[in-house]
Point group: C2
């Protein structure tokens, strides 16, 4: 039973968790913690948290569940800061878009009778900050929960139940599989959206329709946040870019051969797959 | 003054023009024509057209303006069919996503005192058919009107005024410039969206969030329609794919060098450009 929740990092995701908990787990007392008080005061005002502190030790000492919602590059150091202050049985999770390094740090630094389980709810926005947080951000979103040989099954159950309460659909993966799959379905589309913007002339950009706007919306996302994700998952992202460019070169070959039938088959195959989502 | 309008091809675009004309140019009598009566009957029922015929000669003989809204590969043959039956002073335009071959055919086959002016309103949907037509499809859309050495200035003015009445913003280009610019801002994003779907594993697709949905929405578009566009504009599309893959290889190099600062600059530059749209 999660009666006390601590959210570390009150941006879009941390703030939305707070609002969703208020709605779906109203008995739960939510404390906020961050390295600066600006976002904490804003989160308190929107009702995403009940109280806050800048002191990690105070923030987590009574928490049943701690959720790390900072940029991915800062999660390991927050794990170090809170690990000594967790109560027995406390569970720590995160919302980071990469998992291998974070889960490694979590499992190394947080030891039984406390537990670390990695999470990644596939929800977000190109906008950032607690001001755009919403209670329904997680509704119908996939949430990957990482399972390793060290994962405590009871802690994993609790983390999965928590995300389900917020509306998520749970998918289990190892951290390594997570990082490969999310490179394909999230990090690659972000890189491609930026590249699509990059290659535009001023005159072509002036002609943009709704198709271009939708296909590049994510390119407007926070550059620092995405720099961290790209750097953290760079091996998988490079492989994903290779796959995509190979696919585009195949299309180029069909175009050069003027092979209308093969181009239609290529388009039809992927149109069907996309329309099923 | 356009008192009689003939729309040839009653799909999403033809149907939306009919509905928009009914709203903004209610004095105008709209006739529909197509190679089959199914879409014409549906268009008549939605109010997009007032009457219809399968006979091109009857369809255009009293028309002040004829708009060709069929797939791009069929526009030249429709120009051939209607050209002998136009009244003096009639203007013919089209909504094709490629312009070089269409404008060449239009200017060759439609001679003074009738006139051809190419158009391309940047509006559409991944859905097709008159059932999804909307009167506001063209609101705030860019509409490219092609100008060549042969373009009649009075006819071009009339075509531009027509699209402005429907809510479009006019941009003038030569057919050659149009095809290069639209390859970048429309045909390339479609190819990339399909390729993004193509490279997904079943397990990665299962994790898709809103970012993936938005960035691949256009991949669900009609494969036959897009095959025609890709084939027609294949030279420019191949060049655009080259530009994009070069941009992605540059990103790959930065990732391999673990160059966080350069990656952030790359992301920030394009995020800023995108957020201004």
């Amino acid at each position: 039973m999660i009666n006390r929740l601590t959210i570390i990092g009150l941006g879009l995701l941390g703030g939305s968790i707070g609002l969703a908990v208020k709605k779906h787990l109203s008995h739960c007392q939510v404390t906020g913690c961050a390295h600066r008080d600006g976002s904490l005061k804003a989160a308190k005002e929107t009702g995403a948290i009940r109280d806050w502190t800048l002191d990690p030790a105070i923030a987590v000492r009574e928490a049943d569940l701690v959720i790390l919602c900072t940029p991915v590059s800062r999660i390991p150091q927050w794990i170090e800061r809170i690990a000594p202050h967790l109560k027995p049985g406390a569970i720590v999770t995160d919302v980071g878009s990469t998992k291998t390094a974070i889960v490694e740090a979590g499992e190394r630094l947080i030891r039984s009778p406390a537990h670390f389980v990695g999470s990644h709810p596939m929800a977000g926005s190109e906008q950032k900050g607690v001001a755009v947080a919403r209670a329904d951000l997680f509704a119908d979103a996939a949430c990957i929960v990482t399972h390793t040989t060290q994962t405590d099954p009871i802690a994993a159950d609790a983390v999965e139940a928590f995300w389900q309460t917020l509306g998520c659909r749970i998918v289990r993966h190892t951290p390594v599989d997570h990082d490969r799959l999310v490179a394909l379905v999230s990090h690659l589309p972000h890189a491609v959206a930026s590249a699509l913007v990059a290659v535009q002339e001023t005159a072509s950009l002036d002609l943009h329709g709704r198709g271009f706007l939708d296909s590049t919306r994510i390119a407007a996302g926070d550059p620092e946040l995405w720099r961290d994700i790209f750097i953290e998952n760079r091996g998988n992202l490079v492989s994903s870019i290779d796959l995509l460019t190979r696919e585009l070169f195949q299309l180029s070959s069909l175009l050069k051969m003027n092979d209308a039938r093969a181009i239609q088959e290529w388009l039809a195959k992927h149109a069907l797959r996309r329309s099923k989502l």
